[in-house]
């Protein structure tokens, strides 16, 4: 098995078929990269959103317990 082209230039030219071959391979690389990368980014975003949601719920719960506690304290004072 050996490299089929004399020079790098002839490899890129592909006897005049270069534009077709490289356009095809370029498009494939682009599409495959998009396919692999989009779920990673979407998952990262989802995790961030879910974490934020969890934090908000936690804060709300904490606020509710302090409210209840201060209410109880007020009752004791009375």
């Amino acid at each position: 098995m050996q490299f089929q082209f004399d020079s790098l230039a002839s490899f890129f030219a592909m006897d005049g078929h270069g534009p077709y071959v490289w356009a095809s391979y370029g498009m494939v690389v682009l599409v495959l990269v998009v396919l692999a990368v989009t779920p990673v980014f979407r998952q990262r975003k989802l995790r961030r959103e879910l974490q934020q949601q969890l934090r908000q719920e936690e804060a709300r719960r904490r606020a509710a317990t302090t409210r209840a506690a201060s209410q109880r304290a007020a009752e004791v004072v009375e």
């Binding site: 592909m14 006897d15 078929h17 077709y20 494939v28």
Partner: protein, 251 residues
């Protein structure tokens, strides 16, 4: 019971936890096979005596078309399993398979058009193989659109699974189109039942690329499925624990 594995397989949580160990292997194997195949096909496989160097597009065109069809099976069968056994995970797989299949069909159509110009003298002909592939592309888009068109997720699952199943009639038409109709498209190069009409020096890089595309498909389908699981199961306890555990610092 003996059916336990089947139920476990249907559990999004089980899949999410198990699949994280598969990802690096699938991705690594796919990318290494693809890089070997691309270098082999572009630089080391001999030139075609009839088509010259434009034939090198075969190393991406054929694998993409293979996976566009195989991906349709996967999508339709997942939809069917979801309809019959009401398995949650299989609907998720069906939804995840649709955009990947559409992307691969697009690659097959695009590379085919670009290959057609130097070989047939035209980018596009309305011949049976190409038209049926275009229909496949629209079927994928249809499943994507229909699955997102309902406010109730379950309705979208069922409707798009039905569309995917009905669309399978197109698959044998695609396979047989080069035999049934007079066409510019060359007949199949690789055959299961008889000797392939391709020289070993061109066959080995092609089979490397096909294997690479299969592994890439499995990798990307797993990635998309996992993302969709997280999206759908956002309210469940296990996702909350998972997300909470990986939180950077709790304020």
């Amino acid at each position: 019971m003996s059916w336990q594995w089947f139920h476990r397989l249907g559990s999004p949580r089980w899949f999410y936890q198990k699949s994280s160990a598969w990802l690096p292997w699938l991705g690594g194997a796919a990318l290494s096979l693809l890089s070997v195949g691309v270098v082999w096909g572009l630089g080391f496989a001999p030139e075609d005596f009839k088509q010259g160097n434009s034939y090198r597009i075969i190393y991406i065109h054929v694998p993409a078309a293979f996976l566009a069809l195989a991906g349709y099976y996967i999508m339709a069968i997942s939809g069917a399993i979801g309809l019959i056994w009401k398995m949650k995970l299989s609907f998720v797989v069906m939804r995840a398979a649709a955009p990947i299949g559409a992307a691969l069909t697009f690659i097959a159509l695009f590379t085919g058009a670009v290959w057609g110009k130097p070989t047939w003298g035209t980018y596009w002909v309305w011949d049976a193989r190409i038209t049926s592939m275009l229909i496949l592309f629209f079927l994928y888009l249809g499943v994507m659109a229909l699955s997102g068109a309902f406010s109730r997720e379950q309705s979208g699952d069922k409707a798009s699974a039905l569309l995917a199943l009905v669309g399978t009639v197109n698959i044998p038409i695609i396979y047989k189109s080069v035999d049934w109709w007079f066409t510019l498209h060359q007949p199949a190069t690789l055959k299961l039942t008889e000797a392939s009409t391709i020289d070993p020096s061109m066959f080995y890089p092609l089979i490397t690329m096909i294997a690479g595309f299969y592994l890439f498909y499995a990798w990307v389908l797993t990635l998309h499925t996992r993302t969709m699981i997280l999206q759908r199961e956002g309210r469940t306890q296990w996702v909350r624990e998972l997300v909470g555990a990986s939180a950077p610092a709790k304020a």
